[in-house]
Symmetry: C2
Subunit: 338 residues, 2 copies
């Protein structure tokens, strides 16, 4: 069981990351130039295969085992009237995941992935971060470790997702802490809050930013102060995936904000992560831009649960099928460029 | 065997189209509001299921049988040096399709679709349309009928695609004829032509537009004069699909230009068609805008062969799996909005 003794210990782990495998990347690019198509004509399908190769460290990447890891947490700040749904929906949705009734159950099956849901102390919501730190150091590190442990080194790819009523508020506060701006810039409608709720949400974020101003300069302290357990777990999972050579597909706004501290700590800290999609949640597009991530899909989704990341796996599978199955010019006896 | 006696006969068929099934659409929307997710949070995944329902005429749409129809043709205008590849590549790629070595073979298998390739008189290229009409009326109608016949009423969805060295030049000329503009506006790099080739391509398009100026006002005459057999077949297939209640996924620039006359003849003439993606070919985004079609994917693909349309089928399958498999709020015992 991985544990982090302190935030300083976690920070050291986030700074000590493996590099991509340049020769695996090169092997993919070389093969792509020989396949029966104009060079580059499969666009991002070609790019994602090279990305898989360099982060798996395999000249021929594979997607035999894809894990969808969904983390759930409850938020003290939910009591502030910043969500369209009551806090008990987090636990109810975890039960729905177990019963196979949620969108992510259908999507995981469709993309042939294993769904693993980790509920993080739902009975003990984080503290209301407009009054105090959402988590103390110990609580934060336990959640990070839970995410870290959820990543199997046997997986070829992990999709990260979350469930937690109130967590777009936490994600917006964290995004503002990491990249500047305020509630007006980062708050979105979440599950579908009305205009009065939006006003409360913006105010909650601004008040948290003021309260935790001294922690904002440190990405990990900010994540502990204004994040949530499921966000901390996603951070841990993204870190473990890098260390274990498992490429990561990020989901929407919450998931991306949760992983963002890795990028703040090291400029290449999220190079092993693909933005599966850009969600309809207001801040996601701006957040991806800050992180230098170009989303694979743009389908106006805003559900969370890892749903957008799971759909993106379909594109990766299609890309890999072309890469592995197509004939070369030589095999097909095809004329080259005139 | 469907035949069209004249262009006037074909025009009449294009004007007499069935309407969408409003009650099937309504049934989908009603169910979506009951599923365990915030309303609308699956974004385009919800929209495409409603689209499938209203054009299949089924309250619960299905994708049991998906056909990918690829049409191939040769172009007299290819002799003008407007492609990066020699004209014989059209036939060589048809052989590659038969051998299973092309991208579309891998993609059709990945998306569980039937691939059917129709080679249209490859040994007899269309005439060079800078000198005369690409096809006479008879030739054009035979190609339209071939496409029409390729659509089975048993299919739940058809993807349309093409192969034909030189056909982005034909498509650009047709787009200019239908929507205005010139070679500079509509010509793209196709399979990857260099700057000198681009200059020739633009000049070829402008010269064709001047020669056929009297036909430009009529979408079908323009398609015969400046299109190609594979473009004509796509037009016929898109028409047959509407008549046979089979929704259509369009591929890239050539495919979209080929189907565009339906939209010019009737403002709802392509409502049964989904733009599977927007390709990297220069004119495609502008053409989709002219047609009021919002692409599902944007992956910088520019291969043709129906490849972008096939990848889009994956999104439709994911959407349908959520629609059919998810639990309702009542089934899951979930709390509604607070």
């Amino acid at each position: 069981m991985t544990t982090f003794a302190s935030i300083a210990d976690l920070r050291a782990a986030c700074l000590d990351l493996p590099e991509p495998d340049a020769s695996a990347n090169e092997a993919v690019v070389r093969r792509q130039l020989q396949l029966t198509k104009p060079p580059g004509s499969l666009g991002r399908l070609e790019q994602v295969v090279a990305w898989l190769a360099r982060w798996q460290g395999r000249s021929t990447p594979r997607l035999d085992r894809v894990d969808v890891l969904v983390f759930a947490g409850n938020h003290g700040v939910a009591a502030r009237g910043i969500s369209a749904y009551p806090a008990e929906v987090t636990g109810q949705m975890v039960a729905n995941f177990a019963d196979g009734g949620a969108a992510i159950n259908q999507l995981a099956r469709t993309v042939d992935a294993n769904l693993r849901v980790t509920a993080l102390a739902l009975e003990r919501p984080t503290a209301d971060f407009t009054c105090e730190s959402a988590m103390d150091e110990g609580d934060f590190l336990v959640a990070v470790a839970a995410g870290f442990e959820a990543v199997s080194p046997l997986a070829d790819l992990v999709c990260l997702g979350e469930m937690g009523i109130g967590n777009t508020t936490a994600a917006a506060a964290l995004a503002a802490a990491l990249f500047g701006g305020d509630g007006a810039q980062w708050a979105g409608r979440g599950t579908g809050i009305d205009e009065r709720g939006m006003a409360r949400k913006r105010a909650v974020i601004d008040s948290a930013l003021a309260l935790h101003a001294s922690r904002i300069g440190d990405p990990l302290l900010a994540a502990a102060a204004m994040g949530g357990r499921e966000l901390a777990a996603i951070l841990g999972a993204a870190l473990a995936a890098r260390q274990r050579r498992v490429p990561v597909v990020l989901d929407g706004f919450v998931c991306t904000a949760a992983a963002a501290p890795l990028r703040k700590l090291r400029s290449d800290g999220l190079d092993h992560a693909l933005a599966g999609h850009v969600s309809a949640e207001a801040g996601h597009r701006a957040l991806l831009r800050e992180l230098g991530l170009k989303p694979l899909l743009d389908l106006d989704m805003r559900l969370g649960e890892g749903s957008g990341a799971a759909v993106a796996v379909l594109i990766l599978r299609a890309a890999l099928s072309c890469h592995c199955g197509m004939a070369t010019f030589a095999e097909a006896g095809l004329s080259g460029k005139s």
